[in-house]
């Protein structure tokens, strides 16, 4: 690798007139190299191995050794309706959860930006869902909260004429998205709150002096100021939520039927139930490519929308 070649030349003694020498530059970088090499090893080598597996026919439940089978795995991915279904559900889950969590997060942040008695307690309480381990939270939702016979939600809704709704059977996708929103609203709120608190008080005072109402102030000043924060929240939220696995595994196991099988859970099933290592690797590679494409377009779109508003 270039790193080694760069280190190899004999030491140069004379000091160059401007800036620092190549060698010195490398000496400065040297302490970082172990971390860099480690990162390359643990991220890129597994990726190359996955690529290699994706061109193999390799099943754990047959004694036949792995063998090359061309693009058959990729062909199977694109012709499989289960993959397409999982893809669509992943998109629906991520988009809905991120948008709703962001809207709720902005509302809560605006609320918490005001001074009132017990604000810090309320803030801590609101942040709690994000601090709970996702699997633990999902189990609590699946059991004590949403159980059709003993669940708290049904008990609370009983006075309104709701009787023994089997949330995880009849509204499975909605229930999983609800828990995702519940978990991620505090995160969105924290980021937006940071934005709100960095807003200079003078600007708001000036708006007040000019006679702007609360809503106009929010629309014209606060919201544009929050733009990068909201953008960051949406980006981070999307990256995490597209990988949601805990809630699906603990609450519905992808069911009923395939109603809540998203891409990560579909991949898991391909390895753990079908033992199709080649197919799972191909699915993984396709997923990465699609994620990058979609994310690129989503980011460009967000950027354009916000720039338009700014102008």
């Amino acid at each position: 690798m270039t790193v080694i070649e760069d280190l190899a030349p004999p030491p140069e003694v004379e000091v160059k007139p401007r800036g620092i020498s190549r060698r010195e530059r490398w000496q400065l970088r040297l302490p970082l190299l172990p971390a860099l090499i480690y990162t390359v090893v643990v991220t890129q080598i597994p990726f190359l191995v996955t690529l290699w597996y994706s061109f193999q026919s390799y099943f754990w439940n047959t004694p036949a050794p792995a063998h090359f089978n061309g693009v058959a795995n990729y062909k199977a991915v694109f012709t499989n309706p289960a993959f397409r279904g999982a893809l669509v559900r992943s998109v629906v889950m991520t988009v809905t959860a991120v948008i709703v969590a962001m809207i709720l997060g902005v509302l809560l942040a605006v609320l918490l930006d005001r001074k009132f008695l017990g604000r810090s307690i309320v803030r801590t309480l609101i942040i709690t869902p994000f601090l709970v381990m996702p699997v633990a939270a999902a189990l609590v939702w699946a059991g004590p909260m949403l159980d059709p016979q003993f669940g708290l939600v049904n008990w609370l809704l009983q006075p309104f004429g709701v009787h023994h709704v089997a949330w995880l059977s009849t509204h499975a996708l909605g229930s999983v998205i609800l828990v995702m929103i519940w978990e991620w609203t505090p995160f969105m709120m924290l980021i937006v709150l940071a934005g709100l608190q960095s807003q200079p008080a003078e600007t708001l005072e000036a708006a007040k002096v000019d006679g702007a109402g609360a809503f106009a102030t929010f629309r014209e000043l606060t919201f544009p100021h929050l733009r990068p924060y909201i953008e960051l929240g949406i980006l981070l939220g999307s990256i995490y939520l597209v990988n949601v696995f805990d809630q699906v595994k603990a609450m519905t196991q992808g069911g009923p039927g395939t109603a809540t099988t998203n891409l990560p859970y579909y991949l898991y099933q391909q390895v753990n139930n079908a033992f199709d290592i080649g197919g799972a690797a191909a699915t993984g590679v396709v997923t990465v490519i699609l994620t990058i494409i979609v994310a690129t377009f989503a980011l460009r779109m967000f950027a354009r929308v916000f720039q338009f508003e700014e102008a």
Partner: protein
């Protein structure tokens, strides 16, 4: 966007990491155990399913009794749920990583693994030179289901068929009598009369997607309605009239008179519901009787037992056993057999009885247990019907019409692991109401049709 390139690169890296989670799962599973030919020492790692008879009895007894008897052998347990256990064992055994010296498997895996040369021939290797083990005492259908070419490749820890549990008090209240050998039509009639929405479900049935979950119960209904997975030419039969009729019957029964949210219920959930008196009837594994007796004494007093309901066949119970096998080539196999033979021995029953009572003894493996007067007395309500259920099963001829496969609630082909799950998911969808029965079976039929007859028969 001020600086898109940086973000895109970051995204790419995140994506790579995400995809590789799958790979990490593929390549984990190291090796364990030290070498050593002495069968009285060494570490034995055992992969087990997290059922009450194992977590509440086998593990504590191993730590107290077995450890005292064989101080040189260190037994470590890895407990999994059923689905995760299969994946962990499949991974360890097919990649020859020897992560486990002993694996808990069933009649589905044993013949397939034995055929691939993945399991130690227990009959030849150990039982032949260990007359005290008493292999002839094992219940014939159970022993047969764990054999390949006449030799045992796994030995049973507990065995089960399926039967009907019912609440005698509710039956008496409604003026109904459960026959010893009911038909599904009778069961439907009872369920309609006993169902009180919001209080007691007429019947509790499995709906959770899994070939060992909802499909186990449904397959027995399919078999007795005259249906089958494949015909003699390995043509899938999921859309044939008997299969459709059986599935419609099962789905309608559970949707009309079953527990709410059935699509997420399997053995453990239903045991809790039944134990809390929320089911007038419950069709499930015979081994549930042992759990009801030890965990829910009040409901146990009210519980009656009947054989698995039938339609066109004479009997219809499934057959399953959780059995212990030793992977071929695993280290410390001598010590592993010491543990396997101890946990499946006659003496193990005595140890359980001394600590937890006779009713708690793992059922369904040995004739001697059913001849034991103490067990007969303690497990009187359910011992005879359990034995009758197990003995009336015939995995070699599971269906009304001849089939090219064996297995009652599963098909002994490697593809079934994946195919069974796909069909199970669609059936769960039909139970939840997200798709119709005919859509579910169409999807199942096309999933089964992706395999050629040659692929399927090669595995049988």
């Amino acid at each position: 966007m001020r600086n898109p390139p940086v973000r895109l690169r970051a995204l790419g890296a995140v994506g790579c990491v995400a995809a590789l989670a799958a790979l990490a799962a593929c390549s984990s599973g190291g090796s364990s155990g030290s070498s050593g030919s002495n069968s009285n020492s060494g570490t034995v790692t055992v992969a087990v399913v997290s059922n009450p008879l194992i977590t509440d009895q086998m593990i504590p007894l191993t730590n107290s009794k077995f450890a005292k008897q064989y101080p040189g052998i260190k037994v470590k347990f890895a407990t999994y749920t059923e689905g995760d256990l299969r994946a962990a064992i499949q991974r360890a055994i097919s990649t020859h990583s020897y992560a486990f010296n002993v694996v808990m498997i069933g009649p589905y895996e044993t013949p397939l693994f034995a055929k691939n040369g993945w399991l130690t021939d227990l009959s030849k290797q150990y039982i032949a030179s260990d007359p005290g083990y008493g292999a002839s005492d094992l219940l014939p259908p159970i022993a047969k289901s764990l054999s390949y070419k006449g030799d045992l490749y796994a030995v049973p820890f507990y065995g089960e068929s399926s039967m009907m549990f019912y609440n005698k008090a509710l039956f008496a209240q409604a003026g109904l009598t459960m026959p010893h050998n009911p038909t599904w039509a009778q069961i439907q009639g009872f369920a309609a009369k006993l169902n009180q929405p919001g209080k007691v479900s007429g019947i509790c049935l499995r709906g959770l997607a899994g070939w060992g979950d909802n499909m186990a119960a449904l397959d027995t209904v399919v078999n007795t309605f005259g249906g089958q997975w494949f015909d003699m030419n390995w043509k899938p039969q999921l859309t044939s009239p008997p299969f459709v009729a059986a599935t419609n019957f099962y789905v309608n029964l559970v949707r009309k008179y079953g527990e709410p949210g059935a699509a997420s219920d399997s053995f453990n959930q239903l045991l809790t519901l039944y134990g809390q008196g929320k089911c007038a009837m419950w069709y499930d594994a015979t081994v549930a009787a042992t759990s009801i007796a030890t965990t829910y004494p009040d409901v146990y007093k009210q519980t009656g037992y009947a054989l698995a309901p039938v339609n066109l066949t004479k009997s219809s119970g499934w057959l399953w056993t959780w059995a212990l096998g030793i992977p071929q080539g695993a280290p410390n196999s001598g010590a592993a057999w010491k543990f396997v033979s101890w946990a499946t021995s006659k003496q193990y029953a005595d140890l359980v009885a001394a600590k937890y009572g006779w009713a708690a003894v793992p059922p369904g493996t040995r004739t001697s247990l059913y001849n034991n007067p103490q067990y007969q007395a303690a497990a009187k309500p359910f011992a005879a019907v359990t034995l009758e259920s197990i003995n009336s099963t015939d995995p070699e001829h599971p269906t009304l019409h001849p089939v090219p496969y064996t297995g009652i609630q599963y098909v002994v082909i490697p593809q079934f692991e994946s195919l069974g799950l796909t069909v199970a998911q669609h059936i769960a969808g039909a139970i939840a109401g997200t798709e119709s029965v005919s859509q579910a079976l169409q999807a199942g039929q096309s999933a089964a049709s992706q395999y050629t007859a040659a692929q399927l028969s090669g595995g049988g």
